[in-house]
Amino acid sequence: MTHHHRLAAWLPALALALLAPLIGTRAAALEIHGFGGVSYARDHHDADPKENNGAFTLGALDFYVAEPIGPRLDVLTEFSYEAGGVDIERLQVGYLFSDALKVYAGRFHTALGYWNTAYHHGAFLHLTVERPVFLRFEDDGGILPVHTVGLLGSGGHFLPAGELSYAIMVGNGPSIALDNGVPALNPNNAGDPNKNKAVGLHGAFAPTGLHGWALGASVYESRVVSELSGNPLDVTQTIAGADLSKTMGPFELLAEYFLLRQKNHLGTGGSTTNHLYYVQAGYEFREMVTPYARHEQMSFEEGDPYALALGAVDTRIETAGIRVRLGEQSVLKFEGRFVTIDGTPHHQEYGAQWAFTF
C-alpha cells in the first residue's frame, strides 16, 4: 500500500480495540487464519540477456481474524506482512439485518467483478501464481481501485431459478500519489481529496441448475485526482464490468471484462475508453493436479490521462501452468508467462510458488 496508509501504530491498536471483547472473554475461541507463500521467478529477455535474472521471493504473509462480537455483529481484520512493512488490508465491522442485507463499515475489498472479492491476498485460493495484471494491488502497479474505505451493503435472495446476490458501496475515492517514488493509486484511508464519493454496485446470479456457475455485472464511479505536482489529473472514472465464473467441481472457468472510461476535467476535456479482460480455465484431475491457462489483456486509448499518470501501458500476457495440491492446505504451482508490451513481445517469466493457508 502507499505510504499514506502504511500501518502506523494506531491502526493495529484500533483493530485490537475492536477485538478486545473477544480477547478478554473468549481468548480460547479466537482463531487467526491466513495465507502465505514462497515464490521463485526468473525473467528471460531475448533482446537484453543482461536483464535475465532469477530470485526467490517471500510472498505477503496475510493474517485474518473473523469473529462474531454479538448475535448479528462481527468484525473482520486482515493484516498483510510484506517486504516493505505491515499493511492493514481490511478492517470491517458488519451487522446482519437479514439474508438480504448485511451492512459493513470500514476498509473492504471494492465490489468489482469476481477475483477482487473472492481471492484478494489468498494466493492459495487461486489457480495461478500471479493475479491478472490489472487486478494487482494498488502498491504493485494495479490500476483498478481494489480497496475502499466507506460503507458496504450486501445480501442475497434465493429464487427457484437460482440465487441473486449483490454488493453496493460508497466510500472515499482514490487519488494518485507517490509510493516509494512511484505513482500509485492511494485508496485514501483517512480522507478524501474531493467531495465526490466513489460508488459501486456488483450483482450476480447463480442458476440452480448449473452447479457452481455465476454471472455478474459491476458498475463503479469515482472522481480521481493526482496529488503529484507537475502531473495534474482530474477525471471522473466510470468502470463497467462483467464476470463469469465456474468454481465448483473439477472444471474451473473465470472470465472478467472491465470497460474503464475517463472523463477529463482538465485541458480540452474529452473522454477516453480502455478495455481490460482476462479468461482463465483449468481442469483438476484426481483432486490433485490442475493444468491451467490464462489470456489477459489491457488496452488503453491513446492519451488516456489516468494510464499516463500511473505509467500503465498496453499489455498482453499469456500464462500456462500446473497446480499440484499437497494436502488440503498447501499447493505447488509452476507457470510460464509470455509478456507483450505495446504490441511487441517483451519478455518471458517463469515462476514457481508454494502457497499455503492456515
Binding site: E67, P71, L96, D99, E328
Partner: protein
C-alpha cells in the same frame, strides 16, 4: 380480453411448472418429519425446541451450511457440523451438500475469507452435536436417527434417507 386470459393461463402454467421444479429441487421437505418411520441410519436435521421454524428444505440446509443463508424466521442461525473423522460427515456431504470433503472445505475457506464469521461450528461427534444444538439459540445440526433419544431436547427439521 382474450389475450389477457391467454396470458393469465400461460402464467398459471408457468407457475405450476415452477412449483413442480421447486419440489424436484428440494425447496420443500422431501420426507415426512415422522421419526417413527425413519431408518436408524437416516440423517436427522435437528434444532432446539424454540427454533423459529418447524421444517427446512434441503436447499435451505445446504445454504445454511455453506454460509449463504444466515437467518431463519428472523433469527440468526448457527450451523453445527460433525468432525471430519465421523462417517456421518461423508453421508451429509454426499446426500445434502453434493461436494467432496476437499471441495466443501475449500468453499468454507472462501466464504470465511470473503465474508467473515459465517461458517459452521464443528463438534467431534453426534453426542456433542446434540448437546450444542439443544443449548444454543438458533443452532441447527444433524445426527443419525439412532443417536436421538426421546429426551434429547431437540426438534426434527428434516429427514434425509441414506442409501
Amino acid at each position: 380480453m382474450g389475450i389477457h386470459i391467454l396470458m393469465t393461463k400461460k402464467r398459471l402454467g408457468t407457475a405450476l411448472l415452477l412449483l413442480a421444479a421447486s419440489v424436484l429441487w428440494g425447496l420443500f421437505p422431501l420426507a415426512s418429519l415422522s421419526l417413527a418411520s425413519a431408518a436408524p441410519t437416516d440423517l436427522i436435521f435437528i434444532a432446539a425446541k424454540n427454533f423459529p421454524a418447524d421444517s427446512l428444505t434441503l436447499d435451505e440446509i445446504q445454504n445454511i451450511y455453506l454460509g449463504k443463508k444466515r437467518v431463519v424466521g428472523g433469527s440468526v442461525v448457527v450451523a453445527v457440523d460433525q468432525g471430519e473423522a465421523e462417517p456421518i460427515k461423508l453421508e451429509f456431504l454426499d446426500r445434502v451438500i453434493h461436494l467432496s470433503h476437499a471441495e466443501y472445505k475449500a468453499q468454507l475457506l472462501k466464504r470465511h475469507f470473503q465474508e467473515g464469521a459465517a461458517t459452521p461450528k464443528f463438534e467431534p461427534n453426534s453426542a456433542a452435536v446434540l448437546r450444542e444444538v439443544a443449548n444454543t439459540e438458533g443452532a441447527v445440526g444433524y445426527v443419525y436417527k439412532s443417536d436421538i433419544e426421546s429426551n434429547s431436547g431437540v426438534k426434527v427439521l428434516a429427514i434425509v434417507p441414506t442409501k
